[in-house]
Amino acid sequence: MASPKVAVVGAGVIGLSTALCITETCPSCSVTVLSDQFSPNTTSDVAAGMLIPHTYPDTPIHRQKQWFKETFTYLFAISNSAEASEAGIHLVSGWQVFKSTPKEELPFWSDLVLGFRPMSEAELQKFPQHRFGQAFTTLKCDCPPYLLWLEKRLKATGTQMFTRKAADLWDLHGEYDIVVNCTGMGAHQLVGDKQLFPVRGQVLKVHAPWVKHFIRDGDGLTYIYPGIHRVTLGGTREKGSWSLSPDPGTTRDIFHRCCSLEPSLQGAQGIEVKVGLRPSRQCVRVQREVLSRGGVKLPVVHNYGHGAGGFSVHRGTAKEAAHLVGECISALQGSLSRAKL
């Protein structure tokens, strides 16, 4: 197989980073990205893009840690380079605060972010309703810049990108040798994965350029994440809600909660409200599958179900998916040579 044709379905952070990893591990592959949405209309564009991992209940911790480490290392290098501003990657410091001391004082990722330590009494005085906190420095991927930067890198490798809605993975058979499914929430319908469910998140993006730190309540519901031009205020975690319409009552509630954490936000300007559906699953599905129909086979690599933690593990899962694509190619080449005998 001289030039395997790989279709990556999905153009959010998972689709684009997976496509890029495939071009890196398999330079002879011809990669095409297909999606019904591109930046700025993907779920990734709504997210703040903070590198603070979400814990998946059914994925082994060492695997999640490896994914995060690879992602952090990759982005750390970009943040330190001349491309940082174009890629939208920047360091940000701040605090995670808890109203009551958490069961786990050290999250699994504490040694992977920078300078992780408990907050001092003096620092906690800024948060009178909270009794415990952690200070650290991590990375943020601003979207659309990061997605546009990935698209630019992909185009430079000759990868083509098309707006197209795949109703069925089999639609791509014949045109492509391998299909990579990075459809996020779309996998619910595309592959009928009933273990995948939406967790609705509403956020506000405001102009408050004096806010230089992130603040996150340990309950994960209230957070303030300063981006390059706007600060993301969140949020909600509505399990099972499919609604993409902003809710005004929720907007007021988010604003109120964030102002409690950071009173200066009262002066924030230009509030934009956005909604995204986190493609949630008990474990991220990074898996190879061979679909079969009427004697015809279609190799598929799945990479979806990242829920609230897409940005934190995207590069790690993309590399694993690219590796699985490599396995698909070997299997195809194996069966081709057997066919020749």
Partner: protein, 348 residues
Amino acid sequence: MRVAIIGAGVIGLSSALCIHEQFHGLVPSLELEVYADRFTPHTTSDGAAGLWQPYLSDYGNLQETLWNKETFDYLLSHLHSPAAQEMGLFLLSGYNLFTEPVPDPSWKNIVLGFRNLTPKELELFPGYSYGWFNTALMLEGRSYLPWLTNRLTQRGVKFFHKKVESFQEVSGDGVDVVLNCSGMRAGDLQPDPALQPGRGQVIKVRAPWVKHFIITHDLKSGIYNSPYIIPGSELTVLGGIYQFGNWSEENSAKDHKAIWDSCCRLLPALQKAKIVDEWSGLRPARPSVRLERESICLGNLQAEVIHNYGHGGFGITIHWGCAMAAARILGSILQEKKQLASPPGPRL
């Protein structure tokens, strides 16, 4: 009781506000007047980035360390007030970088979360092998000075745009106390060979992805002669010039190149930042701040002068502690003149 303040930078305006807050209720006849040849945005304070950070060493001057602490605590207490944004006040964290280990600074327990840098953090800064991380405060002169001006105007303080040539000029006019906050040009009012310019130049860029201050130190070349990057609410300040004895307020192309090249080496992404402005100013450098009372005989009149100048590159850092000290001196003067029954409030 007329008090004239000479100078409308951070020192003059904050001293005026501190004095008015403390004494206007106790001394009904108190009238404050501010005289200056330059007002915001043309003062030295307007050019500074506005980061609260003293020099690395206080050289044993514990009084200045105390004034720094008083200022930090005062500002911190205003952080959650509705005025904070208008004042240009916000928290900012960042890095101090060195090429060798150094002793902890006098202010390590004043700022928040002071700690040494980890090896992984130092990977961000090739060429630097040691450093600190801490959370400090920003007080942007471009916002703070107008805020002070508004508060003073509301309180009925009068402003006069003129260059005062001598103390007699204001004291002869019936002013009882003169507060000398003339910064760099204090020598024009009274020769002071200890006061010398510490010329600085800065480039202001649009780089909103920078969320930390980064201050490098070269112990051989001295303070502020090594690149620094300080993100403000709108623009990021690039600097690293300290020329002792240079009175020029003109931007130098050579200094521009030195700042630009060294800051871009420190943070490569700055190469893509748009340059918006450039500015040079003179830090009023002195071995120690001159904060003291002087009785000046002018003919048959005696004028009381309170000097409050020579704050070098740490004016914003120390301003409120000095304002309160100046107010205490005024309190003594008012007592002597029987304007006050007893000093107002607890001694700090």
